[in-house]
């Protein structure tokens, strides 16, 4: 079955609604929950997700809530955070994630800004009992795409647009066909997938799953948890219908 990966920023739209959301996300059809920790610089995030970071900042340090997330979600939890913020104390950071029963970790800046340290970081993640979710994008050359396909543990996350939630025109099918031919790992496509058409193109071009973030955050912000979960169910339906 094709995977639905659902993103939410830790504590968004507020700590109690966040809990309600993770309680319902599996039932709504998600296979993996991706939880974003607000970074110092959200390099690859668009305005909607950046705003979610600002909103949760009001609630102070929410990292204590992470333990509850993995327990309540009942599906694998992947932490999305920028390596830049953790590189100086990486062991300590990974250790804390493991203790909270997190399954995997995704650093979107690993390939771009820490090219020389890819193997080191990947092995550290494994040494702490966590799984790697490698992030790749269209500006990554073929040789690196092949390599990431070999070393990722859970799946390969392919961000097809330069920033989340901004519908820059791209040929989703062409982008995925390029990568599909190079990797055998599971391929989950995200980053600004805008609407059903993109999702259908992605799956038809060979994606094994879809990641949704901005649309869910927007719905949570505007309409609340019930509608946010309904949107997750809707995406499940789109994926299963292809």
């Amino acid at each position: 079955m094709r995977k639905l990966v659902v993103y939410n920023t830790l504590g968004f739209p507020n700590p109690s609604d966040f809990t309600a959301f993770i309680d319902g996300v599996r039932k709504a059809g998600a296979d993996v929950l991706e939880v974003g920790l607000p970074p110092r610089y959200a390099k690859y995030d668009g305005p909607v997700i950046r705003r979610s970071h600002e909103i949760v900042a009001k609630f102070g340090d929410l990292s204590g809530n992470l333990g509850e997330v993995a327990r309540r979600a009942e599906i694998p939890v992947v932490i999305l955070t920028y390596l830049e913020d953790h590189i100086d104390h990486l062991d300590q950071f990974l250790d804390s994630l493991k203790k909270l029963n997190v399954e995997g970790v995704l650093f979107p800046d690993l390939l771009i800004d820490f090219t020389q340290q890819i193997d080191l970081v990947v092995s550290k993640v494994r040494a702490h009992g966590l799984k790697n979710v490698l992030f790749t994008s269209p500006s990554v050359p073929d040789s690196f795409i092949k390599r990431t396909g070999e070393i990722t543990d859970m799946f390969l996350y392919y961000g097809v647009r330069p920033t989340t939630g901004v519908p820059i025109p791209v040929d989703v099918g062409a982008l995925i066909r390029r990568v599909r031919n190079m990797v055998r790992s599971e391929l989950v496509v995200g980053f600004g997938l805008s609407g059903d058409k993109d999702i259908v193109s992605a799956l038809r071009a060979g994606a094994d799953g879809i990641a949704v973030g901005t649309a869910v955050i927007s719905e949570l912000e505007k309409e609340g948890v019930t509608e946010g979960l309904k949107l997750v169910s809707y995406y499940r339906g789109v994926i299963d219908g292809v």
């Binding site: 269209p138 050359p141 040789s143 647009r161 920033t163 820059i168 791209v170 982008l175």
Partner: protein, 447 residues
Amino acid sequence: MKRGSIRFKMGWNYRGIGASFAPMELDPREIVPQFWYNIIPDLPRPLPPPRDPPSAEFSRIDLLRDIMPEEVLRQQFTVERFVKIPEEVRERYINIGRPTPLLRAKKLEEKLGTPAKIYFKYEGATPTGSHKINAAIPQAYYAHNEGVPAVTTETGAGQWGTAVALSASMFGLRSSVFMVKVSYQQKPMRKTIMNLYGADVYPSPTELTEAGKRALARDPNHPGSLGVAMSEAVEYALKQRLKYLVGSVLDVVLLYQSVVGLETAQQLELIGEEPDVLIGCVGGGSNFGGFAFPFLGHGSKAKLIAVGPSEVPKFSSGKYEYDFPDEAGLLPMIKMLTLGRDYVPPPIYAGGLRYHGVAPSLSLLMQEGKVNWREYGEDEIFVAAKLFSEAQGIVPAPESAHAVKAVIDEAKSAQRNSERKTIVFNLSGHGLLDLSNYESMMKRFGG
């Protein structure tokens, strides 16, 4: 392509006469490629993508949707190694005289007494006098297809503005060009050509935009810079709801310019030559990238040399970091070798090289040591330009004269080491509209 597929109308041995061939003797369709080449899939490491700055009040990446033709943006972000050239664009390429000739600089070789063979791709043979038209035609074509009535852009030396003016007129679009003031003053004929093609030309900084007003407030005698002119054109496109055509730096422009290198590779193959050294000058990087990247992607072992002016020392003094391509910071940040977006280059003779940054893919290749660089000053390139003009008859654009200077140095080194190597360079434009600059150089450095 098989050599036998070329339709020779005359039974000449082109190798024997020291020129690759005369374009009229061949079917241009055999040389003008059907696909553009994109180097990104073949880079040695991941190319840092464009980014929005931290704490951005708006998304610059999102803003690109308002200012660029949709298909151009799609090609910028849909990374594929080969991109099909639309037949109508290919026809226009042929109509303006592509393929441009690949010529052997035999008389320059003799003057230098070098054992090296020197070839040059002559992009000055296009109607606008430089390679710039290669990237303007597809952008104007896509804008026209999308129903856009008018386009705008900036220009330094005037080469890009001229290319946009002509391309716009080809597809029935109106055009306006913000021309760096110092070039506008130095090269009034450039304005005349653009006007002739139907463009409106404004000396930048202008009072038409906030970016222009800010620059003038800082310095009422601001000489202008490509960064300021770019900010003006982007702002003007937003306000007037026009499309902005990109002249250099962005990956998509290097993609369009790959037609230069792809043709050169084909032409060299026809005469049985392999380049040992490839040389081009760098303003934003589109001429160099377009010329050299197809060779690099094809696994050529040739040494690549990018050449810039010592007066704008971005190779020697630039930092490899995220910066804005435009002075006002309206465009997304890109990681490149840069002197800083607020750097105001001195009003030098080679307007096309007065830019603070270098295209991201070229910057990355320079960081990785795959592309070498040289920087030369005005006095040095003047001597090179004069020597080349006397030997070959073609007056190079002062920008291209930087490449000529590097070629001469390489040829002399081949002479010292008795190496019979093949040097190929891109003569990106002619200098027939730069004669006032040359006149000034003759007065200062002696004729």
